[in-house]
């Protein structure tokens, strides 16, 4: 393998991280940011230090996720759980008698919350109120396939 002569690829290895970050500031879509970070190690490093949050995804009542704008990609939420609301990357899901669960489709992580009944008995309503303040609780959007 020979080392090629000529100018280095300017947008890659020699790009100051501040400039990569400046470009990234104009890319609000979560999907575009992930593709941006995959381009090369310099860009990946710039993405890691990006503080500004990306645009939120849309979660439709049928359980489909959309990243927007400039992305037609979508994926289907696999669970039959009842969706309560979200905070950052985390969704609050209600699995009926099995209890509540936090799930991040981006991190691929799930976390069971302590049973509401226990919380009620131990700490009264104040903890439930705290939950409500942290997680914006919307309408209970039960996915259609929940009834199958």
């Amino acid at each position: 393998m020979t080392i090629e002569e000529g100018p280095p690829p300017p947008w890659s290895t020699h790009l100051p991280p501040e400039i990569a970050a400046a470009v990234l500031r104009h890319i609000p879509s979560h999907a575009d940011r992930i593709r941006f970070a995959a381009v090369c190690s310099t860009w990946r490093a710039a993405t890691a230090s990006q503080q500004r949050p990306s645009l939120p995804w849309l979660l439709l009542p049928d359980g489909t996720f959309y990243s927007f704008p400039a992305s037609f990609a979508a994926f289907q939420f696999p669970s039959t759980a009842c969706y309560h609301g979200s905070c950052d990357d985390w969704l609050l899901l209600d699995h009926d008698q099995d209890g509540y669960q936090l799930q991040s489709p981006f991190l691929g992580e799930t976390m069971w919350l302590p049973g509401l009944n226990c919380v009620h008995q131990a700490f009264s309503n104040s903890v439930v109120l705290a939950w409500t303040r942290i997680i914006t609780v919307g309408n209970n959007n039960r996915f259609p396939n929940d009834h199958s």
Partner: protein, 174 residues
């Protein structure tokens, strides 16, 4: 009191400064335009760049500097008005039209421009080019982005890293 029409009030004549590119071309330009660069503004406030001295810019070649100054001259009047709060809609539309055409250029020139804007600390120009590049790569795959910006073909290691990243974070998009 009404502000004087002339930016620096120097007997009505605009103060000029000389900038010298890396390939020794001299550019004479109004101090108000050059002062869009935070770096140059400090030198100019210190009285530099006048007369026969000139301010050397060893990191900027003449083709790039010419383009940078085209931007600065166009934007200087609005900048002098503090971001042009009183600018008419026509003025703003004209600046927007200028900006759109200004960045309608090859990616290699965009690179030289954004590097110069970064080094000279011209925030508006850096943001303009950054937005253009962002618009060029939105909705594209990592490989398409590399081709758009003239990257060489990825090495096997780079390809493996790209695949691993998309596998880890981008599983939702493939």
């Amino acid at each position: 009191m009404a502000a004087p029409e002339s930016g620096d009030g120097n007997n009505g004549a605009a103060r000029m400064v000389t900038l010298i590119s890396s390939d020794n071309t001299r550019f004479e330009v109004e101090a108000a335009a050059a002062s869009l660069s935070q770096t140059l503004q400090l030198t100019i406030l210190d009285g530099g760049g006048g007369g026969g001295d000139g301010i050397p810019l060893p990191n900027v070649d003449s083709a790039t500097l010419s383009k940078v100054l085209e931007y600065c001259i166009k934007h200087a009047p609005a900048a002098a008005n503090g971001g042009a709060p009183n600018a008419t809609a026509v003025d703003r539309a004209e600046l927007e039209r200028f900006d759109n055409e200004f960045v309608n250029i090859d990616q290699s020139v965009l690179y030289s421009l954004i590097m110069a804007a970064h080094n000279l600390e011209i925030e508006g120009l850096q943001s303009l080019v950054a937005k253009k590049v962002a618009d060029m790569i939105k909705g594209k795959s990592p490989m398409e982005i590399r081709r758009t910006l003239g990257f060489p073909d990825p090495t096997p290691e780079e390809q493996a890293e790209m695949n691993a990243h998309m596998l880890e974070y981008g599983w939702a998009y493939e």
